[in-house]
Each structure stands twice: as C-alpha cells, then as structure tokens.
Symmetry: C2
Subunit: 442 residues, 2 copies
Amino acid sequence: MQLILLSGGSGKRLWPISNDLRSKQFIKIFKTADGQYESMLQRVMRQIERTNADVPITVAASKSQETVLRKHLGARAEISFEPCRRNTFPSITLAAAFLHDKRSVPSDEPIVVCPVDPFVEDQFFGKFVELSRLVVEDAASIVLMGIEPTYPSEKYGYIIPSTTEPISDVVEFKEKPDATTAQKYIKRGALWNGGVFAFKLGYILEQAEKILGFRTHEALLENYAALENISIDYAVVEHEKSIKVVRYAGDWKDIGTWNTLVEVMETNFIGDVRADSSCRNVHVINELDVPIVCMGLNDIIASASPEGILISDREHSSYIKPLVETIHQQIMFAEKSWGTYRVIDVEHDSLTIKVTLNVGSRMRYHSHERRREIWNVIEGRGLIVVDGDVRSIGAGDVIELPRGCKHTVIADSRLKIIEVQLGAEISVDDKTIFEPRGVSKK
Amino acid sequence: MQLILLSGGSGKRLWPISNDLRSKQFIKIFKTADGQYESMLQRVMRQIERTNADVPITVAASKSQETVLRKHLGARAEISFEPCRRNTFPSITLAAAFLHDKRSVPSDEPIVVCPVDPFVEDQFFGKFVELSRLVVEDAASIVLMGIEPTYPSEKYGYIIPSTTEPISDVVEFKEKPDATTAQKYIKRGALWNGGVFAFKLGYILEQAEKILGFRTHEALLENYAALENISIDYAVVEHEKSIKVVRYAGDWKDIGTWNTLVEVMETNFIGDVRADSSCRNVHVINELDVPIVCMGLNDIIASASPEGILISDREHSSYIKPLVETIHQQIMFAEKSWGTYRVIDVEHDSLTIKVTLNVGSRMRYHSHERRREIWNVIEGRGLIVVDGDVRSIGAGDVIELPRGCKHTVIADSRLKIIEVQLGAEISVDDKTIFEPRGVSKK
C-alpha cells in the first residue's frame, strides 16, 4: 500500500491568514502538548504515523509549496511536484506515474488517495487498510470512503450505496443537492464523498493514458500545463461501474471556510487578543504584533495578518471570496526555505522588508537587474558573498548591494536584516538564480 | 472679549486612534468639501471663524501637544502652554494670567472659556456674544452656557435655573444624577453643564490668588506642577452665588467615546474598508495600509491603527478603558513638528522607524547617547548636518550616525527615511537637543 496525499492550492476563503503562498493546510491552529501550535497537515501526519506507521507517503503538490511543505512534513514523505496547479486527476496521475517510474512501485500495488487536511478521528486513517485490502482482493476497481452524514448538507457530494452494510456497492453519485433532496438521500443510507479513493496503481495509469493521452511520468510532466483540468470524480469515478464504498461514522470536517475552521479551534484566541467578559462565541486569530481588543461581540470571527483584517459574523464568513477578490496587493508575508520575509513598508520606488534567516540556512546565490538593496543587519552573525567575495557580517553592519551584483547570505546564528530595496520596478520576479557552478537559471 | 479654548489631554477611550500623543480633538473624521478629512478642532475653528471672526483665541494646552496643535490651528490662535497636565482650574488661570501679563489684556475684559472640541451648531458659538455682554454688564460674576437636555443622561452635570427664560439665575448644580433623578431635574427646566464659562479676567485671577496662592503668569508657571489639581467647577463655580445661565437648545455632543464619535461620522468607513451588503450600522476607521473586510456585522465599531485593532459592539464601546489599560507598548505612530514617524519593526536591541519630513522642515539638532542609527533615504532630497559637517542627501543614500554624534536633517522636498536604531536600551528619552548656539538642553 502506498498513500498519496493531495495538497490543495491556495484559497481566498481563509483570508487574511491564507494567501497565494500559504494554503489552509499550513495554518497553525492546533495547540500541541508543549503549548506550541501545529498545522492541519502536521496533525494529519501525526495521525497517519499512529495508524499507518510504515506506509510510504507521497504528497502531490505544486512546486510553489515546496518550502513550506518540507517544513511541515520533515523527512517523512516524498513530494511529487506539479509544475503548475491542475485539478485532482492530473495531480493524482502525475504522483502515480512518479511512484511507478521513479520509485519502481508495481502496477498491482494498492494506492490510497486522500486530501492532505481532513479533520477526522484516527480511525478514519485506520480504515485505509480495509480500502487497500478490497483493492488487493479485486473487490472493485475503485474503493471509496463514505462519511456518514450528520445533517443534510448542500455543500457535499453524496454516494448512494446499495446497502447500509459497512462495505457496499455504489449505486450512483449525486452532486451537491438541496437540503430536502439531501434529506431523502440520507434516508436511503447515502454517504458524503470525502475525497478518499483507493485503486491499483496500474488502473489509474490506464485511465491516464485513455483520458489524458499519457501515462509515463516524463510525458505527464512535460505536457502538464496542457492536460485536461478535470477532477478524478468527473474523469473516472462517475464512469466506473465497479465501485465499492467503506462507511466511516466518526467526526469529519472539511476545514475550507472560516466557519468550519473555528469549529475545530481548541482555544478561542490565538495571538494577542484582549476580550471583555461580554464576548460570546468569538474566535480571533491575530498574527500581528499589536493587540486586538474585543468588546460585546457575539458569534464573531476576526483575524489580522500582514495581509489585512477580517471581521465577520460566523454565518457570513463562508462568503468571503468575492470581497477578497477585490483586493489587489502584493504578498506581505511569506515563508521561504531559509526563513521568513515580511513587507514592512511600501513606497512607489522602494520596498522595505524584514528578512529572518534560520540558523545554518542560506539564500540561493542570486542577483536583481532592476533594483539595488541596502541590508541593515539588526541581529545575529553570518557570512555574505557578493560577486564571489566572502565576508563576515553581524548586527550593526550595513551592506550595499548594487544592481546586478550576485549575492547570498549564510546564517551562523538566527540572522535578522532590514532590507531596503530601491528601484523603479520592484518585483519578486526580478531575480536571477545562479547554480553553484555559475550556470544561470531564471 | 477673549476666547480661551481648553485642549484636553490624551484619552484611552478612543483607542487605537487616540494615544498618549494624539488626543481625540486631533482625529480627522469630518469630510470636507474637497474630499479631505478635518479634525474636531479644525471644525470648531471654522465655526468660530464664522461666528466670532475677530475674537482673539488662546488655546490652553499641554506642551506635548505643541506640534499637532500648530498643524491644526495654523496662525489663527495663540497657545498658553502648561508645563504638565493639570485640571481645568490651573489650566484656565495660567491662560488668563498669560493674557493679562503677556498680552496686556485688562482686568475688566470678558473672557469666555470653552472646550476645544464640542460637537455643536454655529449658534452655540454665536451665543458667546451674549455671555460676554452679561459679564460686561455685571449681570453676574460667572455666566454659563446651559444645554437643553435631550434625554435624562447620567453622564453630565445639571444646572438648575430659577426660571426657564433664555437667561436665568442659577439655583444650584447637581453632579451626574441617576436617570430617574435626571428626569425630575429636566421637568424643573434643568440644563446640562456644557463646560462653557464667562467671567471678567480680573475675577478669575482673584480666584487664582485665593485658591492657588498665585496670580502672575510667572508664578503660576513656576509652581505649576505643585498647584492644586482641581476643576473650575469644584474650585469656583460651585461656591459662587452670582451665576447666570444662557440656554442653548441646539445639537450638542461630547465626542468622548467611540459610541458618540460614530454618531457624528458623516461616512461609515474611513480608510480601506470592504463591507458586504449585509452589514448594518457598521462604522470603521482604518489607518493601516491593508484592507479591513467586514461581513454580516450589525452595530459594530472597528478601528485599526499602528497601535492595535478595536472590534466592539456600539453599546460596549464606551467601556474600553480598563481593557486598553492592560496594554503596555510603545507609541507606534506620532506627528512631529517636522512630519511623522511610524515604528515599523520592534526587536530587542533594535527599532526600525519610517520618518517622513515635510518640505522645508527640519529636525532639531540632537544626539543620542545609547544608540547608533542608520538612515536609509528612500525618497526626496535634503541636507544632513553631522557634527557640524553639511552634505546633501537623496534617495538611495545611506548615512551611519555613531552614538553621540550631533545631527539634524533639513528636507528640500518631502523626505522619507527608513531609520534603523541599534542599541541595548532604545528609548525616545535618549535625546539631547542642542540649541543653534550649541547650548545643550535635555
């Protein structure tokens, strides 16, 4: 058995704490035993460790998530990188071809596909063994996990099973019905489609060849941007006759909106929040260094990050997307392989950022064509390389980097720099990376 | 007739847009014809211009308000500076002594005292002529303005007049009664005490000598910190037998809390605010560069500034003080005589600020004992003086200022600087000012 975890893309529905660089699975909202916070992804990885300790994991993710994924995953999982963001079918087939071609996984190996961030009980992951067994026994071409509904939701797809047994054939699928219809389905024993699929590796590669026209990792990778942008549900599952479903009766939440996110928060407030005793059912996530004061609020969700501030009642918080789509500003905060950067001042011809490098980390050797930079080191020690010259730097040093110079920095201790960028067209895209041997790569 | 305007101190009740350096009278919330915003003080100055164009104005204010007062007043008014913050009686007597001793205003001149920021109709200020006339005619030692109450408020003091005539003798004063008692007073024709007092200059100086022990400007100034910290109501008005009151029947609001502030806002949103159509009776003042998104809110007041974020329902917004008193952080934004500064990063041994100097302005020649500074010029042109050496600076220049060096900057155009301060004990108090002739002044 092999596990493929699908790492979804960025969403605007959890703005301002998710943005184009930070998806919901990476938001740290779960308090751990040591008082720190862990992300949805980290929570899921711990659950899989407890239930499927030896199962190899491959995360299917966009290249843009590399840094943050490595941080949250550690060495536990491999990553199948997509050159650009596509729907679940291309993403799953690329990861499957990666396993087949690059990791020599045989065609009859059972594969279980699961989203990277379901909020569920351990037994959910425990059931993967059952899905895998059914695949191995050729009980069906595809085995799904069906979640027993707790209410007639209009947000989910429904699986209609032939019986209410723990394992059953699937009669049909119903996409997001209205509440009355959903109620009827539930009476017939219908289950929510939780996005978990199991099949043999060879099966999905055959489907890939048939539907997308390619089946090797190399060909899929090369043609990735042009592949049909289709979900596995539409591409495969809805046309397949041989499907079984395994029932899961525990907690299941899809943490896709503020309303569902706060349902799983273990504390009402994260960050510097001062609320008076009249606040009821208020949830606040504050990522800023200044306090949020709350008074007399009921059923309110609030969040502040370098990107902006959200204040919403719980019910309306699901409808944030159109409002956030009116906001056009640059990314104000990002996690990088070497640490973090935060924009602290924006002017027409300058941008000031705070760069924090982790101990032992280094930026890639790079240059900028259209801006010069002034680095004000405010904490720590390290080495800087400018056009091949190496020198030590430490708190209080000022380094002026002219346009076009090649430079990098290596942190001996945690290193903090106030970086003033000066130029007429400052952009994150103005960056040329140089490989160790001096080969340039845009 | 002379007008003394009392400029009140900083308050926490309008946090986060008021702080120790910025009082409510300076907050810009009134939209002007040209689409800009003006402050309560600027609005009052325009009203006085329309109703009492030729009356000399003296503003009684703390020295710490000098910069912001000069900006909001222009050349229209003189300022009587208090060396420290005291209650209204010391403040009024100091301003009165200033007029008598420094401006040769005679003892029989009628003086009208008024808060700097009542939200009223023009006719309120028009009535000053009547107060002044009654003082000149010796109708009473003190003449007050009484505001006809609109509801039995528990927040204000009541004046009980002998008749309901436009001008009447005062029978007695009642401090903040409960609503039932207030209702009884109102039936008897009682008026709110709006903090407007008129008297002859000599009268208040006699009271000063009797109660405080001093009557000259020099003596009052010298002993200011030790003067009894008492209001004019308690010190004088409640003991005086000869008092008349002039009735005022128009709008009157004391903009001291968020609840009253939003009542006078002409637009619901100031700054970058995106609210959905389900928001009802929502008021937001956003002083940050990032957006505030509001959804599904009712009767909510929100505000964001570099100091923090407030989210409150309207009713509870009056009770902000105890919560805000738990916040101990440095001032993040301030207006100075030369422009503004904003703290953009805080670390243990460094502080990064953005300094914006207005065209033609200059800092005072100064030095710091316990920090060095790195100035990154990001916009504009100017001159910098360091230990007597003068040089031009412009966008892109970096100036390193060692500990102890004397320095200043003069802006030829609007000048913006990212200033990185480095040292173990960074404090706004670490500053030695040098007068032009080199005389140091802490």
